[in-house]
Each structure stands twice: as structure tokens, then as C-alpha cells.
Amino acid sequence: MKGMTVIVKKTTQLIAGLVFLYGIYVIIHGHLTPGGGFAGGIIIAGSFILLILAFGSDFIRLTKEETGSTMYENLAILIVTFLAASGMLFGARIFFINWLPKGTAGELISAGMLPLYNIFVGLEVAASILTIFLALIIFKEEMPE
């Protein structure tokens, strides 16, 4: 797949970073404002998909990219499982318990474990959406003409 015109490429370069930052914003404010891990993860995956669409699949090596995103996905979900299981080691020793100090409501660093869950769920969602997208493109590239 070839990339698009110079205009599209330049605009994407300008926008993709902002989209990425906005995704991070949605994730880390997940416990305060609407949105959270899932919504932010989708936005982050969107910024990558935008770049791939504009620059074409020749620009990046897709299979290598796919290995990386699968790895991130597995790591993120493993960390979420361990965070949930960590409740069985600390505090009241119950699965999924929120054992970190809660802090003041409304502060960025508050709500105990929730921001951590949001961050790793966001990573997981971003990586898995990107993996699905890449798997579809790779499949199309490999199809015999």
C-alpha cells in the first residue's frame, strides 16, 4: 500500500502527536472525568492507525510492528492480573481490593489503585486494537493477486 499525498502526510504529522497526547490525558484522568482506560486506549490506537493509513504500509515493517504490539498487549493484561492479585498479598488480602491510600477526592493522584488499572487497561486496549488492525492489513498484503 502506497502512502497518500504530501498534504495528507504533513497534516497527519501535525495531528497524530496531539491525538496521542489526548489519549494519554483521557487515560490518566480516567478516575476523575468521563472516559478512562478503554476510551483513551482507543484514541491512542487511533493515532497509530492514522499514521499507518497516511504513510502507507511500505513505510513501516508491519510484521515487526505486530510482534511488538502483541507483546505489549500480553504484558499489559498480565500486569492488570497481577495488580488485581496483589490485593491478595497486601491490605485486607482480598482479590481485587483497592489497598493503596485513597488520597483526596478530585486530586490527580487519588483513588488508590484505579489510576494504575486505567493506565494498563489503556495500554492493553491500544495494543490490541492496533494488533487487530495490523493483522487485517498483513492479511490483505499477503493475499495472492
Partner: protein, 512 residues
Amino acid sequence: MNPLIPLFVIVPLAGAFLIMILGRLIRNLDKYLASLILLFLVSVSFWFLLTTGDKVTVYKAGGWEPVNGIPIAIYMVLDGFNTLVLCIINIIGFVSVFYSITYMSRYTSENYFYALFCLMIAGMNGVVISGDLFNIFVFLEISAISSYALVAFGVEKNELEATFKYQVLGALASFIILLGIGLIYWKAKTLNIADIRMVFSSGYDRAYYLLIQILLLCGFGLKAAIIPFHAWLPDAHSSAPSPISAMLSGVLIKAAGIYVIIRLFFNMFAISQGMSVLITTLGALSMVTGVFLAIGQWDIKRLLAYHSISQMGYVVLSVGIGMMMISKGIRDEIAALAIAGGLFHLINHAAFKGLLFLNAGAIEYTTGTRDLREMGGLAKQMPVTAATSFAASMAISGIPPFNGFFSKLIIIIAAVLAKYYLLAVLAVIVSIITLASFLKFQRYAFFNKSDDQNKRNIKEVPFPMLFSMIVLSIICLLLSILALPGIRETILMPATDILMDPSKYASQITGI
């Protein structure tokens, strides 16, 4: 709260993703890690089987206590009934994963196989252990989606076609189940099974209640492949790799289908005569139709798959007889006998059907064919496979020293005592036809002389496959002791009691 309960979900889930990461770096780690995980789960589930008894144990995830008597946490419940099902899941899982060590070495990307396998185990354990309706749905989807991928693991034309059919019908089932759960949540404002019973016991709209019951029966009936909903089963179960067929037929249709139907219709809904007649009819229908569809098959795995439908018919039938007796409010001991017979057959079916699919896999592994007409004379070359498959065939057709005889006997006695003579006669006839079709399997596969016998160089399968088959055939023989009076009281009766007295389940859970 017992910290071992959530491990049934955590350990296989974390294991699946560890396999995906470490399996790329270290060779052969996937096989051994998956076997170890399943071995651990087998020991934990056995420990629970021996210690649970009549107790109902509840684990509240997140430590959320009920507010004004309304449970808000995710409840994980262990009682006599689901410890039995957990044991089945994990034993058959362990045996299949050990079998795959050599069987799956012919396929590529093995670590995906073991990761998906662990994920499927996590899903099924979650369905069985969960005490609330929405989490049953979530775990059902985890196990169903991983099984879609596992059925298609060979990525040939047949497998892809079968998995497509399975996926379409599975998605339809999930949709119907979700609709039913949504309707329940709309009226009852709660998702906890025990709490829903409490809410509905104070009065409900009859038509609405019936709609929910029908929706859930259709949805879980599709997952359990009871007769009008069985179209996906023969294709999916015969196209999957053999250890997966053993899992699907031996465990998945029980954990995701029959278990949930029994749990919901005994412990959540009030038992009504209409529903019990419907369930008994569906059971009798699948028992009879399944066996007639099976006897004409020449593909071994398709034959076994149709027999799964028929044997599940026995389970549904006897549970239905139990419901009918309870709804009439007379002679509880017959109801208890019928339910115990059904549960006993559920356990037995997991053992012998798992074994039969592993046998079919062994035959396919050495001869490369699934067609009965192309085999023959294998008894000399593969003595262990022949012996174990003989044991399993006798068990499924109900020949005395094996477990299948005792469970079918209990079911037939219960039907006679309940004065459903027609159903008893049907059960006997179906059992005879089952015997006929398994004698056909034995004769064509193992005893018939094939023409090119000397040309082919057929050897017995490697050790891990032999080990799994021998273990399961010993289990087939040993399970018959569950029918003995002393052992029946400790293992089968707690499960029957929790189903017989539905208000006990609800009051115990909301009380804790």
C-alpha cells in the same frame, strides 16, 4: 473468605499470557507450564471436593459488603454442585493438555494453542464459580471465543467452515442470553442469582417471567446443543484437534450449557410445571434423535459428536423428571434420585466421551484417516488404544462394570418410580442403539481385517497420549463406585441437596 477460590480464574488467566510472552523466548515451556497449571487446578478442585460437603462458601471480590442487604460485590460461590463440575473441567483439561504434548507437535504456533487452552479453562472455571448472572455471561464469552479459535486451529477448509457455523450460532446464543439478562436486570434491579430469586419470590408478572425463562433456555440450550439447537455441534466437534474435541464435548457443553441451565432453573427461577415439561421433552427429544443421527455416521468423530447430543439428552431428561416431581410437590426422594442420576451421568459422560475423542485422535494420529471404512485390524498394532476405547465404548453403552451402566440404571429406575414408563422404555432403547453403534465402531476400527494391513507400518502412539488414555479409562472404571451408598452420600448428595432446596441456596448466600 477462602483465598483459594479466585485462583481458579487467576491462575489459568495469568498462565495464558505468561505462555504468550515466555513461550516466544523459551522453547517447550508452553507445554510444561500449561500442564503444571492444570495439575495445580486439579489438586485444588479435589481438595474442595473433599472438604466442601454441604457448606456454601462465598468469596466477595473487592471485599464489598452488601448494602442494605443488597449484594453489590462480584460473588464467587462454591457449593456441592459446582465443585463437582470444577473437578470435571480441570481433570479433563489436564488429561487433554498432557495428550497434546505430542499430538499438537504436528501443528505450527503451538504456544497460541496452549495460551488459548488456558484461556478456555479460565472461562469455564469462571462460569461455574460465578454467583452472578452478568459474570456468567462474561466468562461464557471468554470460553466461547477461545473455543472458536481452537476449533479453527488447523486452518483448513473444513475447520474454517465449522468454526464459522459455530461462531454464528454461538453469537446468536450470546445475544439471546444477554437479552434475557437485560430483561431480568430491568425488573429485578440486581444481577446476583440468589438476590434475583429473593426479588422474584415476592411476586412477578407471569408472562414476563416466562419470556425470560424461554430466552435463557434457548440461549444456554444453544450452548449445550440440545436437539433443536444442535446444528453447530457435529461440525465443530469433529473438525477441532482431538484434545479440543475432548474438551468441547466432555466439558464445554456441560460447563457453559447444562450446568447453567440446571443452576438457573433450580436455584434462580421458581420451578413451574410448564417449564419442567418443556425441559423433559427437550431432553427426551435429543436423547432419541441424537442416537438415530449418530448410528449412520462413518466419520468417527462425527459419530462421537452426535452421541454427545444423545447422552446430554439423558442428563436433561433426568433433571427434567426431577423438576417435574418437585413441581408436583410429591415424593421428593424420587426427585432426588432423578437429579442424582442426571449429575452422575454428567460426570460419567465427561470421562468416557473425553476418552473416546482421545482414542479417535490416536487413530487419526497413526492412520491419518477418520473414516471407519478405511481402518481395520488396528487391535494388534495399537493394543492400548484398542483396550481403552473398548472400555469407553462399553461405558457409554451402559455395560455393567463401567460407570455408564450405573448412571443409566439410576435414571431408568427414577423414571419408572416417577411413573414415566414411556421415558424409561425410550432410555433403554436408546441405550441399546448406542451399544449397536459402538459395536460398529469397535468392529470396523479394531477387529475388521483390512486388505493392506501389511503394507502400512502402524505403531502405537507415544507415551503422553497413552498415559492420558489409560488415566481416563481407569477413571471410567473407578467412577462406578460413586453409586455405592457410602460414597454417594459424600459426593453426589451435597450436589443434589443444593438443587432440591432452592431457597437454601438463596438464603445462605444473601445471609453471608
